[in-house]
Structures are given as structure tokens and as C-alpha cells.
């Protein structure tokens, strides 16, 4: 199964009209890459390099100006039941209980109520949130809410998860716990994921591969395979000395540190 391509971007270019209406702005330029079955790939790059645009294209919410995206070998022409996304915001609905929030996607997709409830129950149990099923979102902490959002994403049983900085709004310690939850779940369910992040060590500890994007117009300038055991345990990976090497490599590639000198010279 490892050679099955779950998600593929083929020569994707995205141009936006600037709000003034006069100039066109190229957000993403000729991006091609693919993510294989069960693989976790991170996408890093400077702000505004079009990472989120790629995610929207993959989920079928926006159509690329040029090129195509494919999920399971099928061209993406609109929202697709095999893809689910999760954002930095938990997007929980305040009028729904935690269990009902987890059921949100499956319910929309027309899965019968008893099955929706069953899935919500087992997901909440696996995230140790069963006792909060009947609570409302405002009664939960930020980390718990984000875990509920992850459960909602998994409830639709997607082949591909698109994650846009899912943990950037929670504190550093909670983030590590959530990363562990995510890594274990992805591994256990054999899900394919594309993770957008600004956190370089998050990218290194969670992924099989890291793609580095350039400044706008965003293109992929580097691909780094993470050759470390334990992708299902980012906390153990953090103890691995190789993490620092990879992070240093990514920092160099992104020009972090060099940027200030360049600007100072200019």
C-alpha cells in the first residue's frame, strides 16, 4: 500500500487579484508534490507563502488557477468526502454538545444517527474525553477543544487529513500532548496527512518528510526526509539528537537569522 499516492499536487499555480483590483498576485507558483498512503508530510515556509492556499485547494474549497490536485487519483473539483481539514481555530459550534460537535461532519454526510453516535462515542473515548460528551465547548479548555476538533475531523473517516497549524493556539506543554495524540492516531489508523506549521520542531518530530516553501510566489525549494524512528511518538523523537540537526538544516534553508543581516545590509 505504501506506493499508493493519496494526495498529489501537479503544477499548481494560484493567482489572486489584489484588493485594489489592479495587480495580480501570485501566491503559489508551479507546485508539484505527492503524499503517499500513510505518510505524514509537513509544509513549512515564511508567512504568506501560500501554504494555506494549497490546503484550500486540496480540500476542494478553492480551485487552482493552473494545475490540478488529486486525491486518491481523482482530480479535486470540489469538496470531497475523502479529505477533512482542521484549522488553528477549533471551530466548535457553541450550541452543540461535545458529542454533537464530533458528529457534525458525519451528520452532514448523511450517516445514520446511531452510527454517528457510535463513532463519536468511540473517538471521545480514545481521546479520554468520554466524560465530557454532554458538555458544551465553553466548558472545556483550549487543548481539549482542539482534541474535539481532531475527533470531528477523524469521525468522517477521511483518507487524507489537511492540518493547518492545528496546535499553534495552545500553550507549549499542551501542544506536545496534542502532538502525541495526533501522531499516535495517525499511525494507528494509517491516515495520510499534510501538516502546515510554523513550528520547525513540530514539523521534524511529526513527519516522514518536510517540504520547505519559498517566499511568495511560493514554490517548493527543498524536501527533507526525516530519517528517525518513532513517528508515532514525537515526545520520544524530541530526545533524539538528530532533531536539532534537522531543525538547523530547516533554519538555514528558510534563511532564518540570515534574513536580518540581509535586511540590515539593504
Amino acid at each position: 500500500m505504501a506506493d499508493v499516492v493519496r494526495l498529489e499536487y501537479r503544477n499548481v499555480t494560484m493567482r489572486f487579484r489584489e484588493s485594489s483590483g489592479r495587480n495580480e498576485l501570485t501566491a503559489v507558483q508551479n507546485v508539484s508534490f505527492s503524499v503517499h498512503d500513510g505518510e505524514v508530510v509537513s509544509l513549512i515556509g515564511p508567512s504568506g507563502c501560500g501554504k494555506s492556499t494549497l490546503l484550500n485547494i486540496g480540500s476542494g474549497l478553492t480551485a487552482p488557477t493552473e494545475g490540478q490536485a488529486f486525491v486518491d487519483g481523482e482530480r479535486v473539483t470540489g469538496p470531497n468526502a475523502h479529505v477533512a481539514f482542521m484549522l488553528q481555530k477549533d471551530l466548535l459550534l457553541p450550541w452543540r454538545t461535545i458529542a454533537e460537535n464530533v458528529m457534525f461532519g458525519v451528520e452532514i454526510q448523511g450517516v445514520p444517527q446511531p452510527e454517528c453516535k457510535r463513532r463519536a462515542k468511540s473517538l471521545l473515548e480514545s481521546f479520554s474525553l468520554a466524560e465530557f460528551s454532554d458538555h458544551y465547548p465553553h466548558q472545556l479548555s483550549g487543548g481539549m477543544r482542539q482534541r474535539v476538533a481532531l475527533a470531528r475531523t477523524l469521525a468522517v473517516d477521511p483518507h487524507v487529513l489537511l492540518l493547518d497549524e492545528p496546535f499553534s493556539a495552545v500553550d507549549a506543554q499542551t501542544r506536545m500532548v496534542l502532538q502525541l495524540d495526533l501522531a499516535r492516531t495517525l499511525k494507528k489508523a494509517g491516515k495520510t496527512a499534510l501538516l502546515i506549521t510554523h513550528d520547525l520542531s513540530e514539523a521534524v518530530t511529526l513527519s516522514d518528510r518536510v517540504l520547505v516553501m519559498s517566499q511568495r510566489p511560493g514554490t517548493i525549494v527543498e524536501e527533507i526526509s526525516i530519517d528517525m524512528p518513532g513517528r508515532d511518538n514525537p515526545i520520544a523523537r524530541r530526545h533524539n539528537a538528530k532533531v536539532n540537526d534537522y531543525v538547523a538544516q530547516l533554519m538555514d534553508r528558510l534563511g532564518i537569522g540570515l534574513l536580518d543581516q540581509a535586511q540590515g545590509a539593504a
Partner: protein, 263 residues
């Protein structure tokens, strides 16, 4: 913390009741002490006597019933209409753009000024009063619903879209529930405004309702009667407002209690 909250509630309630007693006492004995004639400010006991009298001989209950009916009809029709148009405009930016200058104009126009016109059109019936109430309730509800639909988090809509939600699913599962808290804020305002609309209609013309009793009392220089009518109108408005709050508490039960607010 719970104890602190409940003790502050207890203190507040005690102070409220104390204020009421002071007010009623001032009403009863204040005018006499200040030498204000009873036809200007009748003391509490006189108003109470008038209340019993009006109840027995002036069909107070009947007139109150008419006013309540008009308020209810105007409030229900006005808020349904406001909500409906609010959702429709919220979902169609073109329609909103086309209609917004007229909506604004109508919103600025003092709605009660339409009362004489409606009476010219429909005679001394209950309908012009209901119509004024509809018009006056319509705007706060419509504007709040429209704004709510317009400001729904686009990421929330995208989330639903990514799950392949249909347009009607997006409405019923996201836009409609999101609009509930602001809609209730509009309904609260509407419930008190409905009384204003109805009373103005009754003042302008007709021979039933509490507004009519007001003009009757005024014509006969029967100040206690005017006071009785004002008290009854306040009661009607208060009960309407309370009704909205009670429904709101049930519908918005999921909000943290502080967000629902007090009376």
C-alpha cells in the same frame, strides 16, 4: 466564588425591595407633604381605589385584553417578518445592496408617525395599531438577524462545505443557530417597542385599549385613571419582555449564564 455570587444577588434583591418600599411610600405621602394637588399627582391609595373602580366599571380588564392582543399580534408578526427578511437579505448581498437605502430610510422614519395614516386607511379598528407594532418590531429583529448572518465566521462555513454540506444544511446547521443570540437581543427590544407602537395607535384613534383609557382619563381630567393606564401598560410591556427572556433562556441554554444576562 459561588457563595460570593449568591450573596451579591441576595444583597441586590434586598436593596431592590427596599427601594420599592421607599418609592411607594414617597408616592403615598410625598405629594401631600409637598402640597401637590391630587389632580396633579394622586397618591398611591387614590390610584389603587381608581384601579378597583376601573376594574368594576370601566372594563379595565377588557381594555387591557385588547391591548395585550394587539401587542402579541404585532410582536409575533413583526418579528417573524423581520427574521424572514433578515435571513433573506443576509443570504443575498445583491438584494441587500439594492434595498439598503430604503431600509435605512424606513428605519430612520419615526414609525409611530405612521399611526394616523394607518387609521385613515383602516378605520378605528385594531388593525392600524397592530400594523404600527409590526413596523416598529420589524427593524431591530431584521437588523440583528441580517448582521448575524453576514458576520458568520467564513471558516465555519468552509468547514461545513468541506464536509460537503448543501446550502440548506449550511443555513440550518450554522447560520440559523449563529443568529439566535442577536435575534433574541432584537426580540427583547421589539417586545417593549411593540407596546409603544400599540399605545400610540390607540391614542390616535379608537375607543378600546389602554391607550384609549389614557385619552379618556385625560379628557375627564381623571389623573388617577391616567396613572392606572400607565401602570397597566408597564405591566403589559414587562410581561412581554419577561416572556422573551424566558424563551431566550430555554433556547440559548448552551451559553455561559453570564452571557444570557439578567433582566
Amino acid at each position: 466564588m459561588n457563595g460570593a455570587v449568591s450573596s451579591s444577588v441576595r444583597n441586590g434583591t434586598a436593596a431592590s425591595i427596599a427601594l420599592l418600599i421607599v418609592f411607594l411610600a414617597a408616592w403615598q405621602w410625598g405629594p401631600g407633604l409637598l402640597g401637590i394637588p391630587t389632580f396633579i399627582v394622586p397618591p398611591l391609595s387614590m390610584v389603587a381605589t381608581e384601579f378597583v373602580h376601573a376594574f368594576k366599571f370601566d372594563h379595565l380588564l377588557f381594555h387591557t385584553g385588547i391591548t395585550v392582543g394587539e401587542v402579541l399580534a404585532g410582536f409575533i408578526i413583526g418579528s417573524l417578518l423581520g427574521a424572514f427578511i433578515g435571513y433573506a437579505l443576509g443570504m443575498s448581498p445583491t438584494a441587500e445592496l439594492a434595498l439598503s437605502p430604503y431600509i435605512l430610510a424606513l428605519q430612520i422614519a419615526p414609525k409611530v408617525a405612521f399611526a394616523p395614516l394607518f387609521i385613515l386607511w383602516m378605520g378605528f379598528t385594531v388593525y392600524p395599531k397592530i400594523l404600527v407594532a409590526i413596523l416598529i418590531v420589524f427593524f431591530p429583529v431584521m437588523v440583528n438577524v441580517l448582521t448575524a448572518v453576514r458576520t458568520v465566521d467564513p471558516d465555519l462555513v468552509n468547514l461545513a462545505r468541506a464536509f460537503k454540506a448543501t446550502r440548506s444544511q449550511i443555513f440550518w446547521k450554522i447560520e440559523f443557530p449563529t443568529s439566535m443570540p442577536p435575534m433574541f437581543a432584537g426580540l427583547r427590544i421589539g417586545s417593549t417597542l411593540a407596546v409603544v407602537g400599540v399605545v400610540v395607535g390607540e391614542l390616535v384613534g379608537g375607543n378600546v385599549g389602554l391607550g384609549y383609557l389614557l385619552t379618556l382619563g385625560e379628557g375627564q381630567a381623571d389623573t388617577p385613571m391616567v396613572f392606572v393606564s400607565i401602570v397597566m401598560l408597564t405591566l403589559v410591556g414587562g410581561i412581554a419582555y419577561l416572556g422573551v427572556i424566558l424563551i431566550e433562556r430555554r433556547v440559548l441554554h448552551y451559553l455561559p449564564t453570564r452571557a444570557v444576562g439578567n433582566l
